[in-house]
């Protein structure tokens, strides 16, 4: 395993060089929290963060994304024809993404890039992106990644993992993309691999020890779906829910969208926007019938999707990486860890 040492003094200079070959995105503090933002030349990512308020999913899958444009002007030959909107898929790098958010891309990939379905926007965007991870030396108290198939130093989904070691970063090379990123920055001081890996391993263990909340997911797969669906605890879980979309919009693994046409006079665009299973409109049929017209049904759908349907369908664990955003920011304190415990321990 190749490990490069980046002295923090060489950080800004390296980033400066990267602007020639990459669009750079990184965490920036806005008001009282961090968000991912495109960095302008000379702007540094703020690496002093727990995690960003919104996940990094929008880096590949924006909340609102234009797909096509069209004209309704019948005097034009191309009226009512959808035309692709040009997008910038030039190389870009997301710096400072936490391992949970990076792992989440692989979960989301199951939906956007499957043998059956290929989402061209997501795939092109994902392929043009280099994910420069940032290991969590100090995870937050709502993190439960270690029992959600991830971890504070987890490498899955990343091209490079930065580990903060006081005056320098260790940059652990994971993919060729990561290697190219380092080359473009001119960071080339190779560490003694064994010593560096030992040091990183010690830090990983220390970080993992700080994660005190755990979930159990071992029994979810064997549960009978219908019995879980009819479980009496949903009434209690759903009571506080106000059916806002906070959990789904902050979640790095929620992928649902809605396609809309918007017209302005005779011209228009087709776009897709994030959607949320918490909203009644999400399932409203054209007939007026709504198969999920109560909040109990909607909140059950969210948790069943993440902790049962996904588990059964993809056989790759739960659709959650344990980032804890939905726990920290749910306005009424609905806690996925509690719900997971109820589901995993449910006996009809």
């Amino acid at each position: 395993m190749k490990v490069i040492i980046i002295n923090k003094e060489a950080w800004a200079g390296g980033l400066e060089r990267l602007y020639d070959s990459f669009r750079l995105f990184g965490p920036v503090k806005q008001d009282e929290f961090h968000i991912f933002k495109e960095l302008s030349k000379g702007e540094l990512p703020d690496m002093n963060l727990l995690n960003t308020r919104l996940s990094a999913k929008s880096m590949v899958y924006p909340q609102s994304e234009k797909m096509f444009e069209f004209t309704l002007d019948e005097n034009r030959d191309d009226h009512h024809m959808l035309k692709e909107i040009h997008k910038d898929y030039s190389p870009r790098a997301v710096i400072g993404i936490r391992p949970c958010d990076a792992k989440a891309f692989l979960l989301v990939k199951a939906n956007f890039d499957s043998p059956e379905y290929k989402d061209p926007y997501w795939i092109k965007s994902y392929e043009s992106t280099t994910l420069v991870g940032y290991a969590c030396n100090n995870p937050s108290s709502t993190c439960f990644c270690t029992t959600a198939g991830c971890g504070p130093f987890h490498e899955q989904g990343l091209d490079l993992l930065l580990v903060d070691a006081w005056d320098h970063y260790f940059a652990k090379v994971i993919t060729e993309k990561g290697e190219n990123f380092l080359a473009a920055a001119g960071w080339s001081s190779e560490a003694d691999s064994d010593t560096a890996c030992d040091e990183i391993e010690t830090m990983r263990q220390a970080a993992e020890a700080k994660i005190t909340t755990r979930i159990s997911t071992d029994k979810l797969k064997d549960k009978n779906t219908t019995e879980l669906f009819e479980a009496p605890f949903w009434e209690d879980v759903a009571f506080a829910c106000i059916n806002c979309g906070t959990c789904t919009y902050l979640c790095p693994t929620c992928w649902c969208f809605d396609i809309q046409d918007e017209t302005f006079g005779l011209s228009g665009i087709r776009m897709r926007n994030w959607d949320s299973c918490m909203y009644p409109l999400f399932t409203l049929h054209g007939s007026g019938h709504n198969p999920r017209d109560t909040k109990r049904q909607r909140i059950r759908q969210r948790f069943m999707h993440k902790l049962k349907y996904y588990v059964d369908k993809y056989e790759d664990g739960i659709q959650c990486v344990g980032c804890g955003r939905c726990i920290s920011h749910c306005p009424v304190n609905i806690d996925i860890r509690k719900v997971c415990t109820l589901m995993n321990g449910f006996e009809p």
Partner: protein
């Protein structure tokens, strides 16, 4: 305020035992600091789940809409005003309710407290009028009055305006407050300045609708932003649509909003959404001498007509 909990449990226990109510709505202990979870209790054995402290900022009137049961509900000043509004607007019947009134000294603002420290807050303890905040290498005592939710700092109806039981002696109401200093500042701005101010205010909105859904007033079967025939508002993050949502929602709450602060508390992005509703609250006070939710005897000004209604705007 911590002392109320024994009384809340005692009353809830009695109401359930005597069969006066089918359920009591209150709060249970949250899983993260400065958060409690609204919950219901249906049996006397479960009343011990209830908690009461300065983290009960969610407005529980929101949980009454169209319910059919007989309900006991724990209500602070603002909750009680929204219960009044709910009764007037036929969202619940007065005789379905046993209102357990809680004289309130204000709820603490988790956004504000989180913003004060660089490190993560792992525990918050409340003692009298002090708030002790703990985290990694952090222990700090704050005065509760310095970290109240903005609406609580400006609240002039801390005592429930309507109640069947009361869990403690009424608290002293705050007097001589200048409640609208910030609104006046915006009123004095030029149209261009206002535009910029609102654009900036809403720039981080993710259209999750937590503000709307935390609000007891927002019970429309289909909100105007969810209408599709016609579709009044676009669903993207276009600032025009975001602005339209917030402006229209605020107007829909005019004369009904009790400034309970649930919207602001709920916002995951920390947007000061009360900026809009408070302007309308101020207008209703100045134009109609009206404060929402104080009486069951009078309908709110915007759904009644009086010959002496102000009409200066007609030129």
């Amino acid at each position: 305020m911590l002392a109320y909990i024994d009384k809340i449990k005692e009353i809830s226990n009695r109401l359930l035992k005597e069969g006066k109510v089918d359920m009591v709505i209150g709060f249970r202990k949250g899983t993260v600091p400065m958060m409690n979870e609204p919950c219901f209790v249906k049996t006397p054995e479960d009343v011990d789940n209830f908690v009461w402290d300065s983290n009960c900022g969610i407005n529980l009137a929101n949980y009454l809409t169209n319910r059919k049961e007989k309900i006991g509900i724990v209500a602070k000043g603002c909750d009680s005003r929204n219960i009044v509004t709910h009764v007037i607007e036929n969202k619940i019947k007065r005789d379905q309710l046993v209102i357990i009134g809680v004289p309130c000294k204000g709820m603490i603002d988790r956004h504000k407290i989180e913003a004060m420290f660089e490190t993560e807050i792992q525990d918050v303890i409340e003692a009298d009028d002090k708030i002790i905040v703990k985290g990694q290498g952090l222990e700090k005592t704050l005065n509760k009055k310095d970290v109240l939710q903005d609406n609580c700092a400006l609240c002039i109806h801390r005592n429930p305006v309507i109640h069947d039981e009361l869990v403690g002696d009424p608290v002293e109401e705050q007097k001589d407050l200048d409640r609208y200093e910030d609104v006046r500042k915006i009123e004095f701005m030029s149209p261009e300045e206002k535009w910029r101010y609102f654009d900036d205010l809403l720039s981080t909105c993710i259209r999750c609708y937590a503000c709307r859904n935390a609000c007891p007033l927002c019970y429309c079967p289909t909100c105007f932003v969810d209408e599709s025939r016609p579709q009044w508002v676009g669903k993207s993050q276009d600032p025009i649509d975001t602005r339209t949502f917030h402006f229209l929602r605020a107007y829909h709450c005019a004369g009904r909003c009790t400034d309970c602060g649930a919207c602001e508390r709920a916002c995951p992005m920390g947007i000061k959404v009360r900026t809009f509703t408070r302007k309308l609250e101020k207008d209703c006070l100045e134009l109609f001498d009206w404060e929402a939710g104080l009486t069951l005897e009078e309908r709110p000004p915007l759904d009644t007509y009086r010959p002496d209604d102000p009409d200066d705007f007609i030129k």
